[in-house]
Each structure stands twice: as structure tokens, then as C-alpha cells.
Amino acid sequence: MTPPQAPGQRDLFPGALEMMVLQSLRRQPMHGYALVQHIRQRSNELLQVEEGSLYPALQRLLKDRLVKAEWEISATNRRVRTYRITAAGNRHLDREVSRFERMLEGIHLVLSPAEAE
């Protein structure tokens, strides 16, 4: 069986959301709502992540022990589940980012018209 496909990933490639989440968490621990806001702002509102699709992604990261979660009280005095990146998550993110950069480079080479034979 293929893993369930979140509709929010329609315009992203598989794993992109997870990568962004990990990158965000590397900067600072956050809860779900804050993560959505953060991704949206960082991408200059270019990426409209469907908010709900964040949760399956977070569960996948939890399952693979790339992040850990704890219930805390937020600055706004709200009970929130805060996610933190783990050591394994850090390593995974580095690997994924370099893989992603190589892939982008490849795509760029294929797409760039100057290199046409």
C-alpha cells in the first residue's frame, strides 16, 4: 500500500512538507498552528499549505523519531503540543536538504535552454 497522500502535497513533492517542518523546528520548537504560520510567512505566502495536512506529516516524523512532542503552556497561556527536532531529525534534514539541492540542480540543468545541444 502506498502511504496516504495528503491533498496539501498536491503542489509539492513528497517529503517537502516534512523537510520544511524539520527546518522550521531546527530554528525553534513550535506547535502545529505556529508551524503553519511560520511556513506561510517564510515562503512569503507563496506556499499555501493546507493546514490539516500538517498533522499526518507530523505523525510520520513522530513515528520515525525525527521529532518529539510534549504538551506545554504557550506564551498566550494556551495548552499546546510543542514539537522539537531530535538528533536523528537533524541528521535526516541535512541528508534530505543536500539530496534536494542535487535534485534541483539536475532539474535546473535539464530545464535551462542554454545547454541545449
Partner: protein, 898 residues
């Protein structure tokens, strides 16, 4: 978090998730309100931007589910639907499996209780039974218990054990306000409970300090069983420290044994444990405690950690001669019996069970038989579901076309058969319980429910589960394989047609295989049944009808010796006066109790021999015994039994022939040689032959009647306080009434025992054979039925498949009779290989069960022929209906359907 902990607190994890999503939406709504939206609009927008919350939650949860669990869930759901669609098939399958698995579980429960169940003590694996292993000069070998002098000497020599204790079962008469009642008990050495590692439920256990001549600090100390404490004393703690009168002595109850502990001898279920040093007090002159020759005390040890059973056994073997030299008198030490004996260590963790000797092999045979029954069940179901698979080819092809892999299809079918097997297994547990209850009731009281505690247990449930899984695999593999092999294209191309498919070689080979196994079972059942018939019909040399045996318990009577012998005379005389009573007498060893008193005899004038074999059976009988028992006096006369006949004896025909050859016997003197194992001296006893009687079986119905010497009951008779009355009356109830009346009249204070009919005693003595015969007959009938169903199923589907062909044949001129014969020929073709294979199987099987048979030739052509005829009859009658349906096919209809 480990993977395992992922699995269990899933509930909490899901709650966290829901809570988190709820909080997210709330926060969103609040921030939208801050941006100026109304609460209602904010709610709508938050939900829109979030997406389908329920779906997201579901997706998030699915992350944690393994894909195979998901697909399994789908399979189970689909399988339930499939089963629901064909309830007939499901019911047949579940019932068949319930019978097969139930029979296996039932027998396994008994095997478990008899052979596998550990004593409820810490580290039972280190418990060891130490036996005297005797090799008799005639080639027999058996294990015997020992005695106290051996125990003391072994303790001095053995180093393998952290403790060695002695144990001997003994019934005690407890004096109560309602009279004297017998309770099971045991003599144990003071260290027994300590070595076993048991702690009391109340009070204290026996300690070495209690096991002193004359008693310990509490006088004679006794520990009672938990069961006795509950039932008899209502679990009252004040019973600790109280005194009771046991075996004629005042005894202090010092403690209660832990719950569930029933002693080390299965089924003895002692209620009173007393120190071994109480033995001389309880048994008086009969005490054996300090005699070196008796074999009555079981020895148990707990091996030191790290000492293997083999090492302990080897040590016991090495110290044997040292122990014998220390304990036995020289003459005994060099007797052939002792020279060929040794000590052995046996595993003791499961306790000792005397049924083990009798029932281990029959039970294992039964376990094999039920295993075969289960195999036949599985073959039957495999055949049935294969036929079903054939008719579901279209479904499989469609699913294959939609992308289901071959393994996926196989998994689906295996899940279906597993579901059926588990349902069957659940019913099987119920059935097994019924079977066991029935079987235990079938056993005589002395065995059965008393001796085997049968109760549900994890290991039995595991066995049932394993049976179910194996069945599911056996029934499911062939159809799953066939389903996986379906060629999508060829099936779908025939789409729309009635695609019933062909049953391949595998399907056709099921019926012969089933027939073969069935034939083997039927042959074995027939042989075991014949054995019982032959045993019952074998002339035992005594009355079976209207004869009763009643045990006397006169050990607490004031009368002893000559007075007691006179009491027996008075009682038999009084019994004979009772209405309906024909003859009454007493005997030391009643027939068919499974053991005998053996002795060595020779003519008094024969040249002295060095070694006499103990091949003669000795029995002490009262006057009229032969009349009451129905054993004919061939020459001479009966005992007068007037107290002056202690020099008389009566021989049976075999004994007369063995001692005197062809010489005249009456009036001759016979000499008994009795070597004492305690002193090594050989005593002799001379007696004059006054009569010769016909041979009678004694120990069991299987053996040929042994040469027997009968002595009269006298004051010196050994077990004078516990002889058995033999009553021959017009009817059994007259005999019973007479017994109770006379007992009340003459010995009212003695414990009452219900007389047992000789016919019951006879049936009890062959209960093993009857059990085997009954069960194997039941299993054979079951497999015959299953084979019939199998043949019916195959023929019916074959007729359905070949309707067109039959139509063509008829159109071309075949008669209905011709078609009928054609179908029967097909059955023959299925049965013949089965009969050939089954014949071979049965031939080997019958040879391997030879020791269970009596007067039956394991190659008996008549029995084989009868079994084959039975199987063929069953096969043909099963095929009759489909064959007639084939013969009644309307050719026009059949061809039009094409």
C-alpha cells in the same frame, strides 16, 4: 519511545491528536476574530483553511498502522462477507474442524494432565524420583519403590541432591462423632516439605523435629490438606493446634498444606500428612519402617543446581552396591534379583502417577489416531474449499486484473480458512471439555476424575490454537495455490459463461488419500473392538453374573487373629442364610485387581533346588469360595475352614501339573519356599493337597491363568483385617441388601464400603481396552462420514461440470444405466488407489499396535476385508445420489444449455 510502546498507548496518542487539532482550530478562530471577523465567519474560514479535519485525523492515525494490518483488516472483513454468503459451507467447515480439533484438544488435555503437568512447587524440574530398577531373571524389568533403610544409606552416599525425602501413601481412619472414616494420607520424612519448597497456607509444615520416634515437640504432628481444611473445617484457623484421633492415636494438627498441592503421587490426594516415624505407631506389628527388605517407600530428591538428571542417575548407579552392602543381609545381597538390580533417577517434576504405566501408550496411540482424524478433516475441507475456489475463479481473475498480486490472493484465502479454523477451535474447546468429562466418567472410580485433574490451561489453549492454525494452513494452502494460479485472461475471456472450472489432480487425489487414512482407522478400530470382545468372551474360570465383591475394613475391630478368623466364618455363615443368597465366602486377593501374591513351590519330596522361581500365585480363601466364585472343583474337596485346616491346600490344574507332572496329587505334600528379603533366610511351609480346581484368571484377563496354590483362611492369614467377601446371590440387589444387613449386624462399627459387581470389576479391568475400542470406533465412524461427504462433494461437482458431456453421451445413445455405471466407475477409480494405499497403511499400523491386541491376528484377512467392504459401501452410497442425478440428466436440456 520504543516501537512497542507505540503499539499500546495508541488510545492516548489518538486523544492527543484530536486535542491538538481542536486547539489548532481554536487558535485559528481566535486570531481570525482578532483580524475582525465575526465568530461564525471565523469558524467557517478556519475549517476551510484547515481542510477536512476528520479526514486529516484519520490520515494521521493511519501513519501508525502498519500496512499489513490494514490489508488484514480488509481481508477479515471480506472473508466474513464470503463466509456469510455460503453459510452451508461455513457451517460444515466449522463443525468438521470443531470435531477434529476438539478430539485433539480433548486427548491432549489428558496427555497434559497425565504426562506433562508439573507439581505446584518451585523449580519442579530439579525434583527427581529415585527408584530401584529391577531386572527379573525372566527378562521383565520394572521400577520399584524402596524403604527407609535404603533412604538413610542413600543420604549418606549421594552428593547430587540438596535433599532426599521419603513418601508413602497411607489411608488413615479418622475418629469422628459420626463414626470412623477413612481419609487418604501419606507418611513423609521430616524434610519432605522443606525439600519440595512448600510454605503452609496456615500454621506450619512438618519439620525434621516432628519426625522423631514417639513424636516431636507437638507430639504426633499432622499437616492437613487445603481441601480438607476448607471442606471439613470451613477454613477455621482454630483447627491449628487441635487434636484429632487418627489411626487410633491422638495427633496434633500443626498446619495446612498450600492450596493446590495434592502430594507427589497424582490422584492419591492425601488429606493428612504425618511424619514417617508415626508409621510404627499406626501400623503396629505390621510396621515396615526398619525392615531392610521391603519395597514400599518412594524416594524423592531435589538435585543441587547444575546437577543433571543423567549425572544424578549415574551417581545412584555407582552407589547401589555400597547401599546394598550396608543394608541387606549377605544371602539377599547375592540373590539373582538384587545382583541384577540398580538405582535409577527419574524425572520427578510431574509427580508420580500409576496411571502413567497403564495409560501412557494408549493415550499416545489415541493422540495419533485423533491426529489422523484431524488430517482427514483437513483433507476433506481442502477438497471442499478447492471446489469452491474453482467456482470463484471469476472473482479471483477480476481481482487479479485490478492489480491484486498472487500472494495477496493467497493471503485472502488463507485468512478465510484461518477464520473458519478459529471458529472451529472455539467450539472445539467446548467439545474437548465434554469429551474429557465423558472419558473420565468412563474410567473406574479409583482412576479417572480422582487421579487426573483436568482443567483448562494456557498450554492447552495454545495447543488448540496451534491445531487451528495448522488446519487453516492445511485446508487453505491447496485452494490458495489454485487461486493464485488462475490465469486472468483465460478466465475473463470466458466471462459470462458458467465458469465452474476444473478440479485438478490435487483435488482428485484428496479422495483417495482420505479413503486410505479412513481405511487404516477402520481396520485399527475393528481390531481393538475385536480385542474387547475376545477378552470378554475369554473364559475366566469364575462367575461374572450376580457375583459381588465387598471389601472388609476390620483393622479397627477389637477381634484379632483367631477371633477375627472366626468373625469371618460367622459372617459368611450368616450371609448364606440371607434370602436370595446362594454362596458367600472370603478371599485375600479378589480377581482382576491387577496384582497378585506370588510364591515358589515344589513337591516336599523333590530334590532341593538352589533357586526357586516365584511363578506360583498364592491366594487365601474361605470355605465355599469356589462355589461362590463359580470355579469348579475337579477332584478332592473344598476347605472345611473350621480353624483346624491350616495344613491343607488346594491346587489349580496348572499348579498340580507343574509341581507333580502326571503323578497323583491328592494327599501329597507341597512345600512353599519363602526367602525373606529382610533377613535372607528361607522359610518353608508344608501343606497337604486336598483338592484340585480348574484354572481361573486372576491378575488380568489377558494372561493365561497362572498356576495357583490356595491356602485356607486361618488366624495366620496375612491381610486378615482386610479380606474381600465374595457374594453369589440370585440378583445383585439381593446380594447388596444381604451384605449391608449382615455388616450392620456383625461389625457395625466398621467403615462401610459399597460392594462392587464382578462384572463391573471385569469391565474395570479392561477399561483401557474398552476406552481404546470405543474411541477408535467413534473416530473411525467420523472419518467414514467425512470420506462419504468428500466423495459426495467431488461427485456432485463433477456431475454438475459434466452435464453437457453426459447430454452428448445420451444423445449418442448411452442408456441411463450406462451413465449410472459410468459414474460408479469413477468412484471405483477414486476408491481403488485409496484402498490399496490404506491397506498398506493399515498393515503397518496394525503391526505397531500389536501389544494392544488380544487374540487378534494383526494381519487378519477377515478384518481387512470387512473394513474394505465398509469403506466401499460408504463410498458408493455417498456417490449414489450424484450418480442418479447424472443418470436423470435430460439430454435436450443439457445440450440447450451449451
Amino acid at each position: 519511545m520504543s516501537r512497542l510502546s507505540h503499539f499500546f498507548p495508541r488510545r492516548r496518542m489518538y486523544d492527543d491528536l484530536s486535542e491538538e487539532i481542536r486547539q489548532h482550530l481554536e487558535e485559528k478562530v481566535e486570531s481570525l476574530i482578532v483580524d475582525g471577523l465575526s465568530r461564525e465567519d471565523a469558524g467557517h474560514q478556519a475549517r476551510r483553511e484547515f481542510g477536512n479535519a476528520a479526514l486529516m485525523e484519520e490520515r494521521s492515525r493511519e501513519v501508525w498502522l502498519r500496512p499489513w494490518i490494514e490489508s488484514l483488516r480488509a481481508d477479515v472483513r471480506f472473508a466474513l462477507r464470503q463466509i456469510g454468503k455460503s453459510p452451508g459451507f461455513a457451517l460444515t467447515a466449522i463443525l468438521t474442524l470443531a470435531l477434529g480439533i476438539g478430539a485433539n484438544t480433548g486427548i491432549f488435555t489428558l496427555v497434559h494432565a497425565l504426562l506433562l503437568e508439573d507439581l505446584p512447587v518451585p523449580e519442579p524440574g530439579r525434583l527427581t524420583q529415585v527408584d530401584l530398577h529391577i531386572n527379573s531373571p525372566n527378562g521383565d524389568a520394572w521400577d520399584a519403590p524402596m524403604n527407609f533403610t535404603f533412604l538413610e544409606s542413600i543420604r549418606r552416599h549421594a552428593t547430587s541432591f540438596s535433599g532426599i525425602f521419603g513418601w508413602s501413601a497411607q489411608d488413615f481412619a479418622l475418629e469422628e462423632s459420626t463414626g470412623s472414616h477413612l481419609f487418604a494420607g501419606a507418611f513423609v520424612t521430616g524434610n519432605a516439605f522443606e525439600t519440595l519448597g512448600l510454605h503452609p497456607a496456615a500454621g506450619r509444615m512438618l519439620a525434621p523435629a516432628d519426625d522423631q520416634p514417639g513424636g516431636g515437640p507437638d507430639g504426633w504432628a499432622a499437616v492437613i490438606s487445603y481441601r480438607f481444611w476448607k471442606q471439613h473445617d470451613n477454613a477455621d484457623l482454630s483447627v491449628i493446634g487441635s487434636h484429632v484421633n487418627l489411626a487410633g492415636h491422638s495427633v496434633t494438627i500443626v498446619g495446612v498444606a498450600p492450596e493446590g498441592f495434592e502430594g507427589v503421587i497424582d490422584g492419591a490426594r492425601p488429606d493428612f500428612y504425618l511424619p514417617l516415624s508415626f508409621e510404627p505407631a499406626a501400623r503396629g506389628a505390621e510396621s515396615r519402617l526398619h525392615l531392610p527388605g521391603g519395597l514400599w517407600l518412594m524416594l524423592w530428591g531435589r538435585r543441587k543446581p547444575g546437577v543433571s538428571l543423567a549425572a544424578a542417575s549415574a551417581e545412584m548407579h555407582t552407589i547401589f552396591h555400597a547401599v546394598v552392602d550396608e543394608t541387606l543381609p549377605p544371602q539377599v545381597r547375592h540373590s539373582p534379583v538384587v545382583e541384577h538390580a540398580t538405582f535409577v533417577a527419574r524425572p520427578g517434576g510431574t509427580g508420580w502417577n500409576d496411571m502413567r504405566v497403564t495409560y501412557t501408550r494408549p493415550l499416545l496411540l489415541l493422540q495419533i489416531l485423533v491426529g489422523v482424524v484431524l488430517l482427514v478433516c483437513c483433507i476433506n475441507l481442502a477438497g471442499l474449499s478447492l471446489a469452491r475456489t474453482a467456482s470463484r475463479q471469476h472473482e479471483f481473475a477480476t481481482r487479479g486484473a485490478l492489480g491484486a498480486g498472487r500472494l495477496r490472493l493467497m493471503q485472502q484465502l488463507l485468512v478465510e480458512s484461518l477464520l473458519l479454523a478459529l471458529c472451529g477451535g472455539a467450539f472445539a474447546i467446548l467439545l474437548a471439555w465434554l469429551i474429557d468429562r465423558g472419558l473420565l466418567q468412563f474410567l473406574p472410580d479409583s482412576q479417572g476424575a480422582q487421579t487426573l485433574s483436568v482443567h483448562p490451561e494456557l498450554s492447552i489453549l495454545l495447543f488448540t490454537g496451534a491445531c487451528a492454525v495448522v488446519c487453516a494452513l492445511l485446508c487453505g494452502i491447496a485452494p490458495a495455490w489454485a487461486a493464485g494460479r488462475v490465469s486472468i485472461e483465460s478466465v475473463l475471456r470466458r466471462s459470462g459463461q458458467n465458469t465452474t472450472g476444473r478440479i485438478g489432480f490435487t483435488g482428485r487425489s484428496f479422495v483417495p488419500l482420505q479413503a486410505a487414512l479412513t481405511l487404516a482407522l477402520v481396520v485399527i478400530a475393528a481390531m481393538l473392538a475385536t480385542t474387547v470382545t475376545r477378552l470378554r468372551a475369554s473364559h475366566p474360570g469364575f462367575h461374572i453374573e450376580n457375583a459381588l465383591l465387598a471389601g472388609a475394613h476390620f483393622d479397627q475391630l477389637p477381634q484379632k487373629d483367631a477371633d477375627l478368623a472366626a468373625l469371618y466364618r460367622r459372617m459368611t455363615a450368616r450371609l448364606e442364610q440371607m434370602p436370595g443368597m446362594e454362596d458367600a465366602s472370603v478371599v485375600d486377593r479378589p480377581p482382576l485387581i491387577g496384582f497378585a501374591h506370588m510364591g515358589a513351590f515344589d513337591a516336599a519330596d523333590a530334590p532341593p533346588e538352589r533357586y526357586h522361581t516365584y511363578k506360583y500365585q498364592i491366594n487365601d480363601v474361605g470355605a465355599h469360595f469356589f462355589a461362590a466364585f463359580g470355579t469348579h472343583i475337579l477332584a478332592g474337596r473344598d476347605f472345611a475352614n473350621d480353624g483346624n485346616d491350616q495344613k491343607d491346600c488346594i491346587l489349580n490344574r496348572s499348579a498340580a501339573a507343574a509341581i507333580f507332572g502326571g503323578r497323583p496329587v491328592l494327599g501329597q505334600t507341597v512345600r512353599e519356599f519363602n526367602g525373606s528379603m529382610d533377613t535372607g533366610k528361607t522359610a518353608t511351609r508344608d501343606c497337604q493337597v486336598i483338592g484340585i480346581v480348574e484354572d481361573a484368571k486372576y491378575v488380568n484377563l489377558r494372561d493365561t491363568p497362572p498356576p495357583t496354590v490356595y491356602y485356607p483362611i486361618t488366624a495366620a492369614t496375612e491381610n486378615l483385617d482386610s479380606l474381600t467377601f465374595v457374594l453369589h446371590a440370585g440378583t445383585l440387589s439381593e446380594g447388596r441388601n444381604a451384605w449391608h444387613r449382615v455388616l450392620h449386624e456383625i461389625a457395625p462399627s466398621t467403615p462401610e464400603a459399597e460392594p462392587i459387581a464382578v462384572s463391573v470389576q471385569l469391565d474395570n479391568s479392561i477399561v483401557r481396552e474398552r476406552l481404546l475400542s470405543m474411541l477408535s470406533a467413534f473416530f473411525a465412524a467420523l472419518t467414514l462420514l467425512l470420506s462419504g461427504i468428500g466423495i459426495y462433494g467431488l461427485m456432485a461437482s463433477s456431475v454438475a461440470r459434466r452435464t453437457t458431456e453426459i447430454g452428448v453421451r445420451m444423445a449418442l445413445g448411452s442408456t441411463r444405466a450406462g451413465i449410472f455405471i459410468l459414474m460408479l466407475r469413477r468412484v471405483t477409480a477414486l476408491l481403488l488407489p485409496g484402498i490399496l494405499l490404506g491397506g498398506c497403511l493399515a498393515w503397518f499400523a496394525a503391526r505397531s499396535i500389536r501389544s494392544f491386541l488380544f487374540d487378534v491376528n494383526p494381519g487378519s484377512p477377515a478384518l481387512f476385508a470387512a473394513a474394505i467392504v465398509l469403506l466401499a459401501l460408504c463410498g458408493f452410497s455417498a456417490a449414489m445420489l450424484p450418480a442418479r442425478r447424472a443418470a436423470s440428466v435430460d439430454p435436450m436440456q443439457a445440450l440447450r444449455a451449451e
